[in-house]
Amino acid sequence: MTLKLCVLTPNRIILDSEVKEIILSTNSGQIGVLPNHAPIATAVDIGLLRIRLNDQWLGVALMGGFARIGNDEIIILGNDGEISTDINPQEAQEALEIAEATLRKAKGKRQVIEANLALRRARTRVEAVNVIS
């Protein structure tokens, strides 16, 4: 029993394969999806999507979006996504440090909002690199 998973972003298809289980982070917490899950629609937060194919966990850094689960078929629409194997660990770490520095220097409501978003994205990418198990 497998789930058909499709992760789409505005410019390309990140992933389109059969998986055994996924763990998704949503605004209201993390949810695990196994085959025969009830149909739900949920908003996806900026965070890590963990995918299990044959006892091997793979991470995908998702930058927010929407997921629709039903009939053993999952469609995730993300603003942007990167598979953990495609992320350069050093570059992700540097991006995280730059984002933290920008947040410290941010002044005014607008800059703080933007800096926070950038920080969360950078943090997700660093987490994705560390998930390979």
Binding site: N11, I13, A38, P39, T42, F66, G70, D80, K109, R110
Partner: protein, 353 residues
């Protein structure tokens, strides 16, 4: 000497595109030298090679740009599907920050230009449209600020400090989601923090290989049904997606536009929403915003490449014609010189005999 017989007294240097009729009367003393003409012919030949290569590179890139649009279709189809279904299931009018309509006091204009020149009137057209819009807004008493995307627009606005610019952004060759995200973040924070009340996107729509249209689309506030609205309030249904394809018809490169209506399948009726509708829409609309911005960037890139193709193509043709003109001139000079030498020899021989 006889070699100066064919030189005229005009001392003005001619422009590069000298026409055939004015060739004899616009000869300059410097250009009479055979060596200079030969150098000029070889430099025109090199220029023609370069412009021909640029045209072929632009043609190859248009194909890539078109593939990028095609690969973005699964996303927009799925998104339109979801938006449609969500709107059916949520009958109440929900208030999401991105759809709030406020009285307009300040407008943000996102102007998409190209990165490089040598593309004909492309950058000029979009900048002129932006200036027209700013003039319109000024007359209505509405303030504006500009978000400039693209090196050409950036340098234009940097030289005019009287135009308020919010941010300068540049993108690499093929627009990625990161570029669209950067613009979307900026626009999002401007709108939500109520610094501006309306965001308009100015980009060049790709009509055909020889024609492109600068258009203005209202980006924010979004309509909950996911319609794309023009400045005049003319709305296009998001379910109708326009695609352009670069194909060949009768051996010539043409562009065909297809309008595809996406099939909207209904959700299973027991579908449960994990969060309340406001949060769901809150997550969906930025996705829609991102994909709209990315589409605009891709279309703008395709129009720039098409404009460069046509500009380089006419430059190549001009170079070929100029080379022909110069070659004829060169041969005439060469033959005149030979004739002169023969005459001298014959005259010398006659004088001796």
């Amino acid at each position: 000497m006889s070699s100066t017989m064919w030189a005229t007294t005009s001392a003005k240097p001619t422009p590069l595109s000298a026409k055939a009729s004015s060739r004899r009367s616009s000869l300059c003393i410097v250009r009479c030298s055979l060596r200079d003409l030969r150098d000029r012919i070889s430099s025109v030949k090199n220029t023609q090679k370069i412009t021909e290569a640029m045209k072929l590179v632009a043609a190859a890139k248009v194909r890539r740009a078109q593939e990028a649009v095609v690969s973005g279709r699964p996303f927009s189809e799925a998104l339109v599907d979801v938006l449609f279904n969500i709107n059916e299931q949520l009958d109440i009018d929900i208030d999401v920050p991105l759809t709030r309509v406020r009285p307009v006091k300040k407008v943000a204009l996102v102007v998409v230009t190209g990165e490089r020149g040598l593309c004909g009137a492309f950058n000029n057209n979009i900048i002129r449209k932006a200036e027209q819009r700013m003039e319109q807004l000024k007359q209505l008493g509405i303030e504006y600020t500009v978000v400039s995307v693209g090196k050409k627009g950036n340098s234009y606005f940097q030289r005019r400090p009287y135009i308020p610019v919010d941010r300068f952004l540049e993108s690499a060759s093929l627009p990625t989601t990161k570029d669209a995200q950067a613009i979307a973040d900026d626009v999002f924070s401007l709108f939500v923090s109520e610094e501006v009340d309306k965001v308009e996107l100015l980009y060049t729509k790709f009509v055909s290989l020889v024609k492109s249209d600068p258009v203005i689309h209202t980006l924010l506030p979004l309509s909950p049904k996911g319609e794309i609205c023009d400045v005049n309030g003319v709305c296009v249904d998001a379910a109708e997606d326009e695609l352009f394809r670069l194909t060949t018809k009768e051996g010539k490169l043409t562009v065909e536009r297809d309008t595809v209506r996406t099939q909207t399948t209904s959700f299973s009726p027991i579908l449960q929403f994990e969060q309340d509708p406001v949060q769901i829409l809150d997550a969906l609309l930025p996705l829609y915003l991102n994909s709209q911005i990315l589409r605009a960037l891709q279309e703008s890139l395709a129009s720039e490449l098409a404009a460069r193709m046509s500009a380089m193509s006419s430059a190549s043709d001009n170079a070929v014609e100029l080379k022909k003109t110069l070659s004829i001139l060169y041969n005439r000079q060469r033959q005149a010189k030979i004739t002169g030498e023969i005459l001298e020899i014959v005259a010398g021989a006659n004088a001796l005999a």
